[in-house]
Symmetry: C2
Subunit: 138 residues, 2 copies
Amino acid sequence: MNIGDAAKASGVSAKMIRYYESTGLIPAPGRTGAGYRVYSDSDVQMLRFIRRSRDLGFPVERIAELLALWRDRSRHSADVKRLAQDQIDGLERKIAEMQAMKETLQHLADACCGDHRPDCPILADLGNGPSLLRIMHR
Amino acid sequence: MNIGDAAKASGVSAKMIRYYESTGLIPAPGRTGAGYRVYSDSDVQMLRFIRRSRDLGFPVERIAELLALWRDRSRHSADVKRLAQDQIDGLERKIAEMQAMKETLQHLADACCGDHRPDCPILADLGNGPSLLRIMHR
DNA sequence: GCTTGACCTTACCATCATGGGAAGGCCTAT
DNA sequence: ATAGGCCTTCCCATGATGGTAAGGTCAAGC
């Protein structure tokens, strides 16, 4: 199977497959006489694993650990669960951060009449005092 | 005021102040005979504006528009509100995305006993079928 | 056998906002 | 005069992805 077919079958672009190879996330595959990369079904399965992990927000660095556990038949599921929980915690942190931004902005936007007049509490907040954000979270 | 003082006063690092200047987000300030950048209080105010906007997640490109409106005394507050609303919408989208990831992971982690045994539904999902994510959101 | 088009290869550049570091100049206090 | 704390510019790195360009390969149709 050439890289294009592996890309279609796995949902990982050919570009990214080469990138993952260059960073050592995946092993270098065999080559044809002409230098074309050749992939097997199990390579495609590995690529799908990576694709799903990315879809769940794991950084490539973590995926390397997940892959190692995947291949390790004597792994402890506790190790996998820990990686998943760390990812959950990280997502939660980012969500909370963005939620705070959103609420602050919503407050400001609600206070802005949004018409032809120049007066605007959004700009006033950005340009002045110690930020509504800080006040709201005090 | 030298760049270090402006950085402290605004909360924007000296490094980023130079970067914003290089990209044209802020105008080049005056220089001393020795080539040191010199900042005024109103420069610091502008930098604080940028800092707060970044804290609310605006990309630098949007901040350029915000700054233009800030300086334009005949602006329409509707334009500011629209930028804010776009940012709110973008945040909301990203939050929903991450929330979906988190829920999927939470499901998988809940199903993993997390002990010394190798069996793990997290790895099973990543390695097999059409992803719990897709199933959950169908 | 030759052309065409679809594929492959490598190599480089760009993103976005930020930090790090090196090499060298300036300024102030001791 | 020297030390150390600023400042300057320039280059490199991040993380994951896409784009592009120049060139090689392969299969189908003429």
